[in-house]
Symmetry: C2
Subunit: 395 residues, 2 copies
């Protein structure tokens, strides 16, 4: 516990007003007072400060409720921009994002066969390019990276694919760009994106599972990202679900990743195509090697029984891990994101079947599983959301 | 978000001072100011209020640091008493507990073959008896009950063994005794006890697993009990760990409880004793039926290989669930309580082996697993701690 001060009270109430304006798009001072339960004069004082800060503006008159029509307030979307960076999608992606979470500009840079120090140079290049694309003051840089992060200290502890270990990325970028920098795991920031920018998923508690080349999750408790003792909360990709199971790149066997990552699914689909001449998967050897996840999805949709069995089995494994998630956290809102979410309702059905058989029915009832609607920009938006939350208190 | 007020700031700082006095046993006003970072005059003002409330007292002079020796303050342990009730240990147990978490009086009542309405009457009887044993003002009643609770509303949703479903226990007791009542699951309050009263386990995040007749856990995040969307967080006893597995009383198969609850272990030890004449377990049929967990433990300690294999297998199943816990929460402090914790280091070794093979090594490193030192009073103490936290803000 730390002491509470009058300054904290003031800052808290300023956040409260800013969040209310953010949530309601166009709102009068009177309505702000009603929603926040602050007095009219406190609201007016805070609004004046926020207008002076350039964060909000008056945008005209609302409808009169009898007397004088009220002046409506809204966020000054372009007051500041934020850089949202995604290092976890096979290439390095970056976006200039405004205060409303709208993407103003995008830059993608290839990192094929690039790791270590070289990959770091690509991060600098990406940021340099993004900074050239905006003339607004930059509030900060948010980064979603693959692997284990030390969120508190901005350190990438392990990112196998990038060949980074204990890289003090936060410090390096802070020194180079003189801007606030926030780093978290890509699944963790995706959960923030879902929580901040999808109006259908504004709940107190939420788990987002990102199933792509790797498998991870982000946990939102009381509208805040929960990271745990070592920033690794949600690292569910290496929970053992198969006995003895295939060897995983982590050194253990039977990890969830070996059964449901897009990498694993493509690998298994190739094996299926090699073994049996298939109606839907292309079977000439040259093509088998280039089977994409979209090819697998097409075969799935066309009713290929082996591919359907493959996805069903993958979904069951995921359901087993969901059973643990639901039993540990009793969270009723689970969102599946990442490239594997294209398998949609079919995948969710297998997940649910297995979940129901693997956890207390009373806990499973009421659990809602959906796929994310946010698309491939989710990590960049989540990274930006992290900056908005830390710098402006916008949840 | 809710508005912050000056009253909240005041209440927060009063809690801060009370917690500091609670933590330090004997402390001066000057040291309180140093620890809390509040001004000397704010501390003096709050101390006067707390003395007026009767919650703290002056107990004499401390050592001089040069000038006038300081007056030492401490908690008035007997200012109020709290009732801590345990409905989850085969009998109904209750204690009168002081503000320091010291048990002043105990009452245990048998509930063998008693369920439903009758069991509720035993709860009343227990509370009546406890109230007769103290003449101090009662701060509130805390209850740890088996099964699924609705903590917010004080409702027992399901307690199979007691034959209770949707029992509004909190309301009934509040009406009858005109006292504040707090109810949570027995594993959840045990985690609170460990967090509040074991000075070795004062960390921010902690999971306590209670393995007795049932299996459950309590999760402390940022020093607060985390209950989830439906108060069921930590209900890990019915996570599926065995394929296909034995039928569990929840209706599913292969639940953790079927492998490691004291009930399951006694059952399996009986089967072992029936199948093979054993050196350490008593094998005459009449006695086999009465084998206790202590008998199983004696056989285990004497090196009975079948019993050692039984415990090792149970520990492995628990390790599998710990893998999920550690991966989801990244919590480094896990405490095992309940009757099965007598298997101590041997059990922990099997758990660790399985944990290491079933989760990302980087997450597992640094995880500390110990057994609780709190003994059979843990649920009563945790229930009391819940009252202290809600009524006085003492963590």
């Amino acid at each position: 516990m730390k002491k509470a001060t009058r300054e904290q009270t003031k800052a808290h109430n300023k956040n409260l007003v800013l969040n209310a304006i953010y949530a309601h798009c166009e709102i009068s001072r009177a309505d702000l007072a009603r929603i926040t339960h602050l007095t009219r004069s406190t609201v007016s004082e805070i609004v004046t400060e926020l207008i002076d800060d350039g964060l909000i503006k008056e945008i005209g008159l609302g409808e009169s409720a009898g007397g004088k029509p009220p002046i409506l307030l809204c966020i000054e979307s372009e007051a500041n921009h934020v850089l949202g960076i995604d290092l976890a999608s096979g290439e390095f992606r970056g976006a200039v994002i405004n205060l409303r979470g709208e993407i103003k500009n995008r830059v993608d840079l290839s990192v094929e066969n690039i790791t270590g120090e070289e990959a770091l140079l690509v991060v600098y290049q990406l940021i340099d390019r993004l900074l050239e694309l905006t003339d607004r003051p930059i509030l900060g840089i948010g980064i979603g990276a693959p692997g284990l992060m030390d969120t508190d200290n901005g350190v990438v502890r392990y990112a196998v694919n990038l060949g980074w270990q204990d890289l003090h990325l936060g410090e390096l970028l802070k020194d180079k760009y003189q801007l606030p920098v926030y780093i978290a795991n890509d699944s963790q920031v995706s959960a923030l994106a879902e929580n901040s920018f999808d109006s259908n998923t504004q709940v107190d508690n939420l788990v987002l599972i990102k199933v792509g080349r790797g498998v991870g999750s982000g946990i939102i408790l009381n509208q805040q990202l929960y990271c745990g003792d070592g920033s690794g909360a949600g690292e569910i990709g290496h929970i053992k679900v198969d006995q003895p199971g295939e060897l995983c790149r982590c050194g253990n066997r039977g990890c969830l990743e070996t059964l449901i990552s897009s990498r694993a699914i493509r690998q298994k689909a190739k094996e299926i195509a090699r073994e049996t001449p298939h109606a839907y998967l292309n079977t000439s050897v040259a093509d088998i090697e280039s089977i994409t996840l979209e090819d697998v999805y097409a075969a799935y949709q066309n009713g290929d029984p082996d591919i359907q069995a493959l996805i069903s089995h993958a979904g069951q494994s995921l359901g087993q891990v969901f059973a643990s998630l639901v039993s540990v956290l009793n969270i009723q809102r689970i969102v599946i994101a990442g490239s594997m979410s294209i398998f949609g309702d079919g995948l969710i059905k297998s997940v649910l079947n297995s979940l129901e058989a693997s956890a207390l029915p009373a806990l499973v009832n009421g659990t809602q599983i959906t796929t994310s609607k946010m698309g491939e920009e989710i990590v960049m938006l989540g990274a930006a959301s992290m900056v908005l939350q830390h710098e402006l208190g916008i949840i």
